[in-house]
């Protein structure tokens, strides 16, 4: 960190890392004031895909908002289903049978795996490698087949219902899961560890780039792999246990290096943990009904404000729900993890080279419709 450089206004030019850019993976625009290759000031501009989820929540009933939740973060859609369904169950006091909780955890972890696989492909694509994307997509298609077998859709699942699930899972889903985990475990050392993690070019591009330490995460409210890459062991599944997670033993990977390499390793390690959870859940899968005995036709939670948080693939997805006895929520605030994760990009990218700033943006794992809601 040398002495701050004084720059003159006419020596910098403004570059639009605009809405349509391969590295932003969606319609995020970053207004970069550049001094040659260096970024003097980075200012993300949002709102290019603002789809009024919170307005729709207020105008419809509780059930009508269910299809909206997967369309916010379509890569980890089931976590959002899970968050919203848990919020309403907590407010209306609906019990969920044991088997439904287990299946929810299995499908959410499968979805986290497919989200991390897509992040892995897109992130290495940002850094210039195309082949790992095809390997990652090959595995991801296997997950999509499994989830399609149960939920019916490939991306925007609307599988959870208040008090249970839409339908039960069959045996070939269970055997399919086991085969998939065995296959991914066999491919992990060759196609992912040796090909990419061991690659010196990738390491050189990520080590000591984009230092986001625990204090910056606390100031900006960044959660998820960004926070765990800063050496803080915080995961909603462990810190505020919910659903059937307390029954499984899995650990939270966190790395103290605080740079893009640490965030990369956190997500690679999280894939392992998700597989462990799925295996334990499949072994201990209880029998029994999948839906609660009595679920009121019209959901009427008593008035007041409720807060529910879930560990989505990108961080803490929180729902602040205010009910006043109407047919739908009076106000539904969706706390999206990447909204806070991206708010620290302005401070991280200052003085960085443009190529490194793109590597950091890839390591933040952004999904833009989740930021704009």
């Amino acid at each position: 960190m040398t002495v701050p450089i004084r720059y003159r206004e006419d020596e910098t030019f403004v570059l639009n890392l605009g809405p349509q850019h391969p590295a932003t993976h969606g319609v995020l625009r970053v207004k970069l004031t550049m001094d040659g290759e260096y970024i003097v000031k980075a200012e993300p501009v949002l709102g290019y895909i603002h789809r009024m989820h919170e307005k729709m929540a207020e105008s419809g009933s509780f059930g009508q908002f269910l299809p909206n939740t997967p369309r916010m973060d379509y890569l980890g859609a089931l976590s959002y289903n899970h968050g919203y369904v848990m919020a309403v169950e907590q407010a209306a006091g609906i019990e969920v049978p044991e088997r439904a909780e287990y299946i929810r955890v299995i499908t959410v972890e499968l979805n986290r795996l497919s989200s991390h696989l897509l992040w892995f492909g897109a992130f290495v694509l940002d850094l210039g490698g195309f082949t790992p994307l095809l390997y990652a997509f090959d595995d991801r298609e296997k997950v999509l087949d499994l989830l399609e077998m149960v939920t019916g859709s490939r991306l925007t699942y609307c599988y959870f219902r208040f008090g249970g699930l839409y339908n039960d899972i069959e045996d070939d889903f269970v055997t399919g899961c086991r085969e998939f985990i065995a296959r991914l475990r066999s491919r992990m050392p060759t196609h992912y560890r040796d090909l990419v993690t061991g690659n010196i070019i990738l390491q050189k591009r990520l080590k000591d780039i984009g230092i986001i330490d625990a204090d910056m995460c606390a100031r900006y409210g960044a959660t998820g792999p960004v926070l765990r890459g800063a050496g803080v062991e915080y995961d909603v599944r462990k810190n505020h246990p919910y659903s059937a997670y307390p029954e499984f033993d899995f650990d939270i990977p966190y790395f103290p290096q605080c740079d893009s390499w640490a965030r990369y390793l956190v997500r690679m390690e999280e894939m392992e943990q998700s597989m462990r959870i799925i295996e334990q859940a499949l072994d201990k899968l209880p029998d029994g009904p999948v839906n609660a005995a009595k679920v009121p036709k019209i959901i009427k939670p008593d008035d007041g404000t409720y807060y529910t948080a879930v560990e989505a693939a990108r961080g803490t997805f929180g729902i602040r729900m205010v009910c006043d006895g109407g047919k739908g929520p009076y106000r539904l605030k969706l706390r999206s993890p990447t909204f806070s994760n991206l708010s620290l990009f302005g401070e991280v990218a200052e003085g960085m080279l443009l190529a490194d700033a793109l590597a950091v943006m890839g390591s933040l794992d952004l999904v833009i419709p989740e930021i704009d809601r």
Partner: protein, 173 residues
């Protein structure tokens, strides 16, 4: 034939146009223009399982000057509409537009009475050639959309279309 809207060139005669159209139809370079969820299905279509490369469409060009097809994959909001118009203008002729997904066709799930930020359909300001319904449409649907666009350009279908529904239905087209 979809080409009547394409402006005329200096040298024109029938056979050459068919040859050109055949070449254009088999090398439709899409623009990386993923707006939302449909973009992920577009990426899956580009992946190795559904493989757009079989139709010459796997080269996703980020710059509008170098692409032929603008696949509008996702929701267009009022804030994004000027950018979409600029990108369409900057594309060089001959160019086509595919509206992929319900949002690009008619605003899809975000078309409700309190709608203040979503443009209901890409065809409100773009000349759309092919509409692909679905939310998001499966990669096979995107490939079917590309084949429909190819049929629109060359007038011939790549392989016979089977009647929907019936197993071993009559093959025609």
């Amino acid at each position: 034939m979809g080409t009547e809207k394409i402006p005329s060139s200096i040298v024109q005669f029938g056979v050459l146009d068919q040859v050109l159209n055949l070449a254009r139809a088999n090398s439709l370079w899409p623009m990386t223009f993923g707006l939302a969820c449909c973009a992920i299905e577009m990426m899956s279509a580009g992946g190795s399982r559904f493989d757009l490369a079989r139709f010459g469409a796997e080269v996703f060009r980020p710059s509008p000057r170098q692409c032929d097809v603008m696949i509008v994959a996702g929701t267009i909001t009022h804030k994004m509409a000027p950018a979409v118009k600029t990108l369409y203008d900057q594309m060089s002729e001959p160019k086509w537009v595919i509206a992929m997904g319900n949002c690009a066709i008619s605003g899809g799930p975000f078309k409700f009475e309190g709608n203040y930020s979503v443009v209901e359909g890409a065809d409100q300001f773009l000349p759309v050639d092919v509409y692909i319904p679905g939310c998001p449409p499966r990669p096979e649907a995107l490939i079917e959309g590309l084949l429909t666009l190819e049929e629109k350009i060359t007038g011939k279908r790549r392989w016979p279309r089977r009647d929907a529904g019936k197993q071993g239905g009559a093959v025609h087209g």
